[in-house]
């Protein structure tokens, strides 16, 4: 895309779809002369990833005027590779939401159809790509926040293995799950960006170590198969799956069979616990991570109210969080209370481990973190990304008020891979349709996943 016209295109897209929380207003300098792998490619960055050149708001009143003094590692890597960051994208506040509705900047509109929700929480990043204004975008995926909006806006969304891409500079929602993801219209761009970002970072304590990266690379070249075995977890074939998505999905399976792939039904019984486990662990981590926004250092602070009123600290400042964030802080703190910690948090952690063990049984590619011994011979698993097409924005605000749990159901297909840290790609099943299929594989085997998708995009 021509960089000279980009500012006009951003303005148009912004007025149509409300993609950005901030963006460039003057044409950027071309970077092609430097010859980086992403030179002159335009990037949009989710606004919970810190940048020196733009504010970082997390779509929250509490960080409304915050600008970070440093760039996230991913932002620096993109800069070094020649990419041009055109702006920061709208999101569900602090990444909490599945529909893109919980933002102080008003919801993003879906470029496919502005009546539809675009999905969240990386809603602006999905719209930036779907509208064509950015060549690719970065989102964060904690329970599906990259994959769901990608499916709803019919683009490709890739959540790499947990720890592959640095989280330094990514504002934490739930660190044990938070993963930077890549969104683009074609898989080659996704792969190219991934190549740039897939680096060990000593500043991130959860970054996959160089030793394990080397081991994984050796293992991947040794174990690569031209026709990987495919498994379909039966727990994913839900009765609620909408007929049109089901049809699309079966058609895709059929195309794989015709290409000569072997497809097996498999079972991950723990998938049934995934939502409960996720909504126990993630809000607990969130409540902890958001404790720092006490109004002393960030955000607005009522000058008339003392920091301590009735022995309670910072109440006034913390009322600046939006309702969904408040819900999760309360839920998270409840899960962490000394009376319930063992019954809730610890139990959820155990169930999470149990689920990882079940995934590990499937793949002959050994999990380098758990070292569990494989049992079956499945290389790739496949399931839909979303249960239903995106809801209509005007209906969402009604149902959500009645029952906030309804929104959580949207994550049912994406959460298991988040809990297990597995690399997963969602891509559209048919062009322009707001649903996707997810391809996942064993932890650390990201390259094989990209290769499979390159060969078998619908």
């Amino acid at each position: 895309m021509s960089l000279t016209k980009i500012v006009d295109r951003i303005r148009t897209a912004q007025s149509k779809f409300n993609i950005f929380t901030s963006h460039i207003t003057t044409p950027p300098l071309a970077t092609a002369s430097k010859g980086g792998p992403l030179s002159n490619r335009t990037a949009a960055i989710k606004d919970n990833i810190v940048t020196k050149d733009f504010p970082t708001t997390c779509a929250s009143n509490i960080l409304k005027d915050y600008t970070s003094p440093f760039d996230a590692t991913v932002v620096s890597l993109l800069k070094d590779a020649g990419a041009v960051t055109i702006g920061k994208t709208n999101l569900d506040e602090f990444g909490m939401g599945s529909l893109g509705m919980h933002t102080i900047f008003n919801p993003v509109k879906n470029p496919l159809n502005t009546d539809w929700c675009i999905g969240g929480s990386s809603s602006g990043s999905a719209a930036a790509v779907a509208s064509g204004v950015a060549d690719f975008s970065l989102g964060t995926d904690t329970g599906g926040s990259v994959r769901l909006p990608s499916a709803y806006s019919s683009i490709i969304g890739f959540k790499p293995s947990y720890g592959r891409i640095s989280r330094w500079g990514v504002v934490a929602f739930a660190q044990s799950l938070d993963t930077v993801g890549i969104m683009a219209r074609d898989i080659d761009t996704v792969a190219k960006v991934y190549d740039v970002l897939d680096k060990y970072d000593r500043r991130d304590p959860t970054s996959l170590s160089q030793n394990l990266r080397d081991e994984l690379e050796k293992k991947a070249s040794r174990m690569s198969r031209t026709k990987p075995n495919i498994g379909i977890p039966q727990e994913f074939i839900q009765g609620e799956l909408s007929p049109e998505i089901k049809e699309s999905f079966l058609k895709y399976i059929d195309s794989l069979l015709q290409k000569g792939y072997d497809i097996y039904p498999v079972s991950i019984p723990s998938i049934k616990d995934a939502l409960s486990v996720y909504y126990t662990l993630a809000p607990a981590e969130a409540a902890s991570n958001l404790a720092r926004y006490d109004g002393v250092r960030y955000g607005t602070k009522d000058p008339e109210t003392a920091d301590i009123v009735d022995d309670k600290f910072f109440n006034a400042a913390r009322s600046n969080f939006g309702p969904e964030v408040k819900n999760r802080i309360i839920l998270g703190n409840y899960n962490l209370c000394s009376d319930g910690y063992k019954n809730n948090f610890i139990k959820a952690q155990k169930l999470r481990v149990q689920m990882i063990n079940q995934f590990d049984r499937l793949f002959p590619f050994e999990n380098v973190l758990t070292r569990n011994k494989p049992v079956e011979d499945i290389d790739i698993i496949i399931c839909p990304t979303n249960l239903m097409p995106p809801p209509l924005t005007k209906s969402v605000s009604q149902t959500e008020k009645k029952n906030p749990l309804h929104e959580y159901m949207n994550d049912i297909y994406t959460i298991p891979m988040s809990l297990a840290g597995l690399p997963t790609i969602s891509f559209p099943l048919s062009s322009g349709k707001p649903w996707g299929v997810q391809i996942a594989t064993q932890y650390g085997n990201d390259k094989a996943l990209l290769d499979f998708v390159k060969a078998n995009s619908a």
Binding site: V50, W168, A174, Q175, S288, V296, D307, I308, D311, F313
Partner: protein
């Protein structure tokens, strides 16, 4: 500098705690929680310099993005702190957990930028262990008293708040927060409730301070806040009361004494105030005051930290740590009191425990200097049955260190540039052999040290005591004529003009006055005569024996 508003507890009227004695009817039980700042190079989870004291005058210069908890920052564990913790745990005979973990302890406070402290709650760094106190070395009343350690945990320090009292507006005041201390590594040590009198507490703290100094893991000072002690106190069936904000040893001890008295009164239904409740109390210098009761206690909502990996230690590391540790202070004192050194408890303690704080030397350097001097002295005089190794320690502790202090010469410089132990041993041998008298040697030593200092402690080559003794004409004369000596001694007695003293010496009433006469004689001979010769002459004149 960042600002926040805090409501501060107002000072309440002061009252005196009177009696210090414990009654046998009421048993005191105490446990300690000690926070120790580690003097690692960097902070616990960031690369900022760990210099919270040196930088007091420059707030927030050692504060990284992580230390102030900026969004998007993450902790990376400093393994030096882990190594320090391992040294302490092994020294305390604790069982190190080779897979300890970090947890978050949540509470809001202005000086807690994350809204939680990273600590070790569920899987602490080490469990068990003890410190043995004894009457002999620690001055407690019991022969032996074992204080068991519950656990050690590694955790972050908070930032430092300072309150601006002058800006008090409508009951609110401003606080300044200095993040230099934020994220400094701490070890929290928790003891079992094994203390039953105040002397044990005092001895334990002293011994613990010495231990961390000996291990070089902390400066060990209470006054600077590098060690902070909280005390749990319970008298008989009175519920446990936690005492906080105790800035030095005397406030710790006085607070326990006061709290003992208060709880006794509560148990007796007396007037000193307070209910029979679990609570946290502070110390205002005179009495303990309520900080918070159990009802207002915070639920810290401990959570395993979701991004810090377990602290894994291979067993080899612990074996190496064990090997690297020097002997315990008690063993060291015992060794110095035994053959061949035979030091007094007092001298052995001076060489083992750091009490005298200055920039010139520490107890370890002095001990090393003593041991080396001792060995060479013994070697030089190995065939001499009359050697007196006791003069070594008194010369080092009294003459040498006294002069170093007076002239401000670091022992290390002295050792390296002028007077290594082998030369000092030589001087002591010259004294022993009466080639130079004690008093002349003292003068000579001070003189050469003074010159050394005047020359900025630059290296002195070929220091030769024999040559110096010649040069300054300090040799003890061996060919003093008997008649001249007798005349001189008689002159001294005449000049003294004190017949009463002479009579007292003669009658044996004041034998020590003879030493006075000898001293006068030494002065007359400018120290260049053997003491024995003078003494014999005076005895002869005064017809003693």
């Amino acid at each position: 500098m960042l600002r926040g508003n805090y409501r501060i507890l107002s000072r309440v009227a002061r009252r005196h705690a009177s009696s210090n004695t414990l009654s046998s009817k009421y048993e005191l039980t105490c446990g300690l929680e000690i926070h120790t700042q580690l003097n690692t190079k960097n902070k616990l989870f960031s690369m900022s310099s760990n210099k919270s004291f040196e930088s007091l005058a420059h707030p927030n210069i050692n504060a990284s993005y992580f230390d102030v908890a900026l969004p998007g920052t993450q902790p990376v564990l400093n393994y030096e702190a882990v190594l320090f913790a391992a040294k302490l745990a092994v020294s305390l005979h604790g069982t190190v957990n080779i897979n300890s973990q970090f947890d978050r302890k949540h509470y809001f406070y202005g000086d807690q930028p994350q809204g939680y402290q990273i600590t070790q709650h569920y899987h602490p760094f080490s469990k068990g262990g003890y410190i043995m106190l004894s009457k002999e070395f620690d001055g407690i009343d019991q022969d032996l008293s074992k204080i068991n350690i519950t656990q050690l945990q590694i955790e972050q320090d908070t930032a430092r708040s300072s309150y601006l009292h002058q800006s008090l507006i409508e009951g609110r005041e401003e606080a300044l927060i200095d993040f230099n201390r934020s994220n400094v590594p701490l070890i929290e040590l928790v003891t079992e409730p094994d203390f039953h009198d105040v002397k044990q507490v005092k001895a334990f703290i002293k011994k613990y301070q010495n231990l961390v100094r000996q291990l070089h893991i902390s400066t060990g000072d209470l006054e600077t806040g590098s060690i902070r002690v909280d005390v749990n106190v319970s008298v008989n069936e009175h519920p446990r009361v936690e005492l906080k904000n105790l800035p030095n040893t005397s406030s710790i001890l006085n607070a326990i004494k006061y709290e003992y008295k208060r709880q006794v009164e509560v148990l007796e239904g007396g007037s000193l105030g307070g209910s029979k409740a679990v609570e946290t109390r502070g110390w205002d210098g005179e009495k303990t005051t309520l900080l918070r009761s159990k009802e207002s206690a915070v639920d810290y909502r401990y959570m395993a930290d979701p991004e810090l990996p377990p602290v894994t230690l291979s067993p080899d590391v612990l074996v190496n740590v064990k090997k690297s540790l020097t002997q315990s202070a008690d063993d060291c004192i015992r060794e110095l009191m035994a053959e061949p050194y035979n030091l007094t408890l007092k001298d052995a303690k001076i060489l083992t425990i750091q009490n005298d704080f200055n920039d010139l030397y520490n107890n370890e350097e002095v001990r090393q200097y003593y041991l080396e001097t001792f060995n060479i002295y013994m070697l030089l005089l190995k065939d001499d049955n009359k050697k007196k190794p006791k003069i070594i320690v008194s010369w080092i502790l009294h003459e040498l260190l006294g002069n170093l202090k007076k002239l401000e010469i670091p022992l290390k410089k002295l050792n390296e540039n002028m007077l290594p132990p082998e030369l000092f041993a030589e001087l002591l041998v010259l004294i022993h052999k009466q080639i130079i008298s004690n008093s002349s040697a003292k003068m000579l030593l001070f003189h050469i040290l003074e010159e050394f200092k005047a020359n900025d402690c630059v290296k002195v080559e070929n220091l030769d005591f024999k040559a110096l003794i010649k040069k300054y004409d300090l040799e003890v004369q061996t060919d003093v004529s008997k008649t001249e000596l007798e005349q001189n001694c008689r002159d001294i007695i005449t000049e003294l003009n004190n017949p009463k003293m002479i009579d007292d010496i003669k009658s044996g009433k004041k034998k020590n006055s003879l030493k006075y006469l000898v001293g006068l004689g030494m002065r007359k001979y400018q120290g260049k005569i053997k003491v024995q010769e003078l003494e014999n002459m005076f005895k002869q004149i005064l017809e003693l024996e």
